[in-house]
Amino acid sequence: MEITEIYEKLKKVFETGLGEIKTDIPTEPFFFADADKIDVICMFLRDEESLQFDNLSCLSGVDYDKDNLAVVYHLISYVHNHRLVLKTLAPKSNPVVKTVTDVWAAANWHEREAYDLIGINFEGHPDLRRILLPEDWEGHPLRKDYKVPEFYRGMKVPY
């Protein structure tokens, strides 16, 4: 099923929660979904008979633009052999996105990584703590405005 068909199908079910669709771009087409509805939308994408997105291929955090962070979901259906890219924006002032760990268990560590490096808070995540960096690290280093600390535990960090 093509992304436009999927989008139309979702439009019929969800009156709110879906953003604009972008197909006229050099990369894979995608559409936006709202951060507080993403868990319901993903559950529908997984369970609907004609969609059956049974695999979360990747979940990534992105420093999207001046005001927003984003989470990008790459979904694959092994049953129907189709794929989908879904994005959700979260404002930098309060980046909260609903977790999808209840939909795909694979999201657990991916969301922890997005929290660790970008600083997105996933509401409802069972164990949201750093996964790569040390526990006492300050800040989220893949943000564009991140400044490297002078020292970490007495070790000089810059060259």
Binding site: L133, Y146, Y159
Partner: protein
Amino acid sequence: MGILNKLDYTAEKFESGNIIITSADKLLNWSRLSSMWQMFFGLACCAIEMMATSASHYDLDRFGIIPRPSPRHVDIILISGTVTLKMATRIKRLWDQMPEPKYVLSMGSCSNCGGPYWEHGYHVLKGVDRVIPVDVYVPGCPPRPEALLEGLIKLQEKIRNQSIAKKTA
């Protein structure tokens, strides 16, 4: 006779009577440099070269360099790869657990000076010598097994010239 041949450069031999006279320094240094047990520990792609050096083709065993699983057994630690800040705290801890005399060989650009991460690596320690004292630096990215062997032989030379009476480092 093996021992006699190895001690040749240091010792006086008496032809009959199986007596060797040598100095304590030379005997200690000879025994230390001939059995540099190594911390079993790899960090990044350099570790692959280190493993290749340990394996049969280059055969570190012939220098008496045997990987050991505990820092309490070892004489040298090969820092083979990128030292992240998270790992640096562990390296310091391993180093503190090693018994004296102990030596460090820093292998590859990353552990020498940060390597390709020198500017944009917020997570990389820019040289392991910021945490522990390094005896020999081996350049390369990663160094060939021959380069690593050269570094280990340099370390053997350093040990050969040590003295228990005066501090060298």
